[in-house]
Subunit: 188 residues, 2 copies
DNA sequence: CCTATGATGTCACTCTGTGTCAACACTATG
DNA sequence: CATAGTGTTGACACAGAGTGACATCATAGG
């Protein structure tokens, strides 16, 4: 069903990340993003609820992917193993060739308070979804919420390291190592 | 140094919480808040960085109070005891006669995504400050960050319960009980 | 009484975000 | 090939958030 120039949404995203990198998030107007994308500001707001959201495109899909991986883990798998499956599956979103864009995106978010707020609520939403998925596996409270929070903590740490390392370990490897560290820390 | 009608800031806060309760956060304009406070919208933005901030007045003082309590805990006190001191000291902000206003404020925040975002970043900032205070007590990483996150978790749970109970336990009592629960959960 | 100072008001302005309707491209159907 | 239908986009008007610049006013202190 593609009409006109296709991929309006991805053109918006590309134009936005370019401009944010060039002149900063606050200095970039939605009109400027739209102009670079060959569209209008009104159309921008048909694709994104607000200006911040253009930087958080994959979050719903990432969440759904991790929830699915958690649900499809073997019934006899422990809570930690199910969490590990979800964290590993998230690696589908973090190919090594996307690392430069991820790094740029991270630096833009780090530089702006509004964007940090938005990222926090995305993480909180993801945590709540994972906790719900754990409860549906029969994990009780507060274990489910605690495990979900721990999963988010590992995710943040691993993602930050993956973004920070220029040509280092893959996301999958970092997640494995971070999980192992958490296990030794938590082990009584 | 009081001139004009005093307490402009607290009048803004009172007018805002009233209007938010009456017609909702989004339907309330800054101009309406200012009118009820007997001032102008321009002056509102001299007291508050943005419209959301009017609901988060005490956060810096709360944070400073908790950090101070943490720093002043006996040097021989354990990490958990220092955290407990900070959480207990926070009770100075939660007198039982402020409970109705706290409840109204909480319901306003819960009903609006932008306000939930702002609350999340306030909690994250508080967590970072507590972790820093713990490191200054000689607690290493990742213990300091983990303990700070646990403290925030207890704070949120305790505050939510205190707000929810009409004429129930005091904040101090709830914090004590929540901490005891966390201890039994974490105990190996 | 007079003046320095700080708090407030006024005005003009940019930008975000929304509602509404017209114009348009494409698809399907006859 | 014509035409109706569907969904996308543009154009316009608009309300509200937030800011900068400057005027105005109340008061403290001499």
């Amino acid at each position: 069903m593609g009409r006109w120039e296709p991929d309006a949404e991805s053109r918006f995203r590309a134009a936005a990340i370019e401009l944010f990198g060039e002149i900063g998030y606050e200095q970039t107007t939605v009109a400027a993003i739209a102009e670079r994308a060959g569209l209008t500001a009104r159309t921008f707001f048909r694709y994104f609820a607000d200006k911040r959201e253009v930087l958080f495109h994959g979050s719903e899909r990432l969440q759904q992917t991790m929830v699915d991986a958690l649900a499809q883990a073997p019934a006899e798998a422990s809570t930690v193993d199910a969490i590990a499956a979800a964290l590993t599956k998230a690696g589908d979103f973090f190919d090594d060739d996307r690392r430069p864009i991820a790094r740029l995106r991270s630096s833009v978010i780090a530089a702006n308070a509004d964007l940090r707020e938005r990222e926090l609520i995305k993480m909180a939403t993801l945590s709540a979804a994972l906790a719900q998925a754990l409860r549906e596996r029969g994990v009780g409270e507060p274990d489910a919420s605690l495990a979900a929070e721990a999963a988010i903590a590992v995710f943040r740490v691993a993602f930050a390291q993956w973004v920070g390392e220029s040509e280092g370990r893959s996301y999958g490897r970092i997640v494995k190592e971070s999980l192992a560290r958490l296990r030794t820390i938590v082990a009584c």
